[in-house]
């Protein structure tokens, strides 16, 4: 099973720790907020991804199962 990284944008305060720990999949925008690779996390980066999730001081970064459908948002 493959996991995908997702940011809770309300919880995220732009510490930037995630991009430091996982530059392969996360970069920061010009305001310091993470731009996350939308694809599944490659197995080779699985451990780093878990570290980044654990290190987020705002608990805003999550790994979600790829086979779960992306939530749709009826307004």
């Amino acid at each position: 099973m493959r996991d995908t990284l997702r940011v809770n944008p309300i919880a995220c305060t732009g510490h930037g720790v995630c991009a430091e720990l996982l530059p392969e999949l996360i970069s920061l925008d010009e305001w310091g907020f993470p731009l996350v690779d939308p694809g599944p996390v490659p197995p080779a980066l699985d451990l780093e991804a878990r570290r980044a999730v654990a290190a987020c001081p705002a608990l805003a970064l999550k790994l979600t199962r790829t086979d779960a459908p992306r939530p749709v948002r009826p307004r």
Partner: protein, 428 residues
């Protein structure tokens, strides 16, 4: 399955043509007596039938997202335990007036729909979420219905703050729970865990009014107007140089039929401030339907159609709107909080004279950066509006860059609040 016998029985008294929702005599609101004379009593007591009827009718939500109504009904109906239903009348788009009119002119139809849907999903709690003072008629309707013993579930009214995002589903649930009307991150969706954790069905008030008619007259009746893909009628708020008008229209009619022929139109805003500008030529070719509009990156939304007169400046209009949308960010998500004010400033610069060379590229980049990065669709909706502005008013941007403007009338056209809100203002 549709109950054919019931469908045929109802056929004897089925109304035809337009309007379906609005009063037969424009401007004369219906009270409970005239409402019952026109439509009869709501057919409560047969909850198993409604969700199928709504599915076969093909009704979609009229609050803006056009989500299939039966799917939300079915999700909450399947859930166990305490369930909640909310009629969302917090029409927060300054350019839309259709829900307010419906609540004043046909409050009983909305309340019928609320009771019928509550029964169908097994909700024991019902709320009506409104802006204060929008409809004294609804209070009168509630007391008349209580006296007549019409309602099975009592209805609690909760007031919405005057914010653009107040009616967003998760913001609404937050407000009902006693908190500020700001969106939350999904999942969970409110149909799974909404008010105080209970599965919650939120439906726009116009949607519920249609439900009340489908329950009475059946899906075949509902489909007699509209298109096969998008059946029924919808309430639209149409703005022209002659003012604003609420029109109940059959879905699929040519857009042109909604706008008087004697108006000289430059561009049309479809779907409100989260919607898109289309060139005036679109009026002659496009129909009032999402299938027609989607191929032009536009959607009906909650039915706002604004025909910008030829003598106004579309850039000035767009700049005012985006400044408002930036101020209406809940300020919770970094990209929206940072991106929208910058986009607003850039658009204001384009609407001025002689903008800097990089401004347009900045605007495009920020539009890309905020898309898909909010907890709600506020950044995405704002980007849709901005991108269509850049496309439809491209020639005007060039004109402004050289220090000119084609407008001869500087009066603001699109309606906005008198006082610009502040992100940090009260959200309760």
């Amino acid at each position: 399955m549709v109950n054919d016998v019931a469908d045929q029985t109802a056929a004897l008294n089925q109304p035809t043509g337009l309007p379906r929702l609005l009063p037969l005599v424009p401007g004369v609101p219906e009270d409970l007596r005239t409402h019952l004379a026109r439509y009869g009593r709501p057919p409560l007591g047969d909850p198993g039938r409604l969700i199928n009827a709504v599915e076969q009718a093909g009704l979609t939500g009229r609050g803006g997202a056009a989500f299939p109504v039966y799917r939300k009904l079915a999700i909450v109906a399947r859930a166990r335990g305490r369930k909640v239903i909310v009629a969302n009348g917090a029409e927060s788009e300054p350019a839309s007036g259709k829900d307010g009119l419906l609540l004043r002119a046909a409050p009983n139809l909305v309340l019928d729909g609320l009771q019928l849907a509550a029964e169908a999903i097994g909700a024991g709690e019902a709320y009506l979420y409104l802006h204060p003072g929008v409809s004294p008629e609804i209070l009168r309707a509630l007391s008349q219905r209580a006296a007549a013993g019409l309602d099975r579930v009592s209805v609690t009214i909760t007031e919405a703050p005057p914010r653009f995002l107040a009616g967003q589903e998760s913001a609404l649930v937050n407000r009902l729970g006693g908190g500020p009307a700001v969106p939350t991150f999904t999942p969970p969706r409110v149909t799974e865990a909404g008010l105080r954790g209970a599965p919650t069905l939120v439906q726009n008030v116009e949607t519920l009014a249609h439900v009340a008619l489908i329950a009475r007259y059946g899906p075949r009746w509902f489909r007699a107007l509209g298109t096969a893909d998008e059946p029924g009628t919808m309430l639209t708020t149409v703005h022209t140089e002659h003012g604003a008008q609420i029109i109940e229209a059959e879905i699929g009619v040519p857009l042109r039929t909604l706008i008087s022929q004697d108006t000289d139109v430059q561009a049309v805003l479809i779907g409100g401030f989260h919607g898109a500008w289309l060139p005036a030529a679109a009026l002659g070719t496009l129909a009032l339907s999402n299938s027609a509009l989607n191929s032009h990156q536009a959607a009906l939304g909650a039915g706002v159609i604004a025909a910008l007169p030829a003598d106004r400046c579309g850039l000035a209009e767009a700049a005012r709107v985006v400044r408002y949308l930036a101020a209406e960010s809940a300020g919770q998500c970094g990209p929206c909080l940072n991106g929208l004010p910058r986009m607003a400033a850039a658009l204001a610069e384009l609407a001025g004279r002689g903008h800097r060379k990089q401004t347009r590229a900045d605007l495009e980049r920020w539009a890309g950066l905020v898309t898909g990065r909010g907890a709600c669709n506020h950044p995405d909706g704002t980007v849709r509006f901005v991108r269509s502005t850049l496309t439809v008013f491209a020639a005007e941007i060039g004109l402004h860059a050289r220090g000119h403007c084609s407008a001869t009338d500087r009066t603001p056209f699109l309606p906005l609040p008198d006082r610009m809100p502040l992100t940090e203002d009260d959200w309760t």
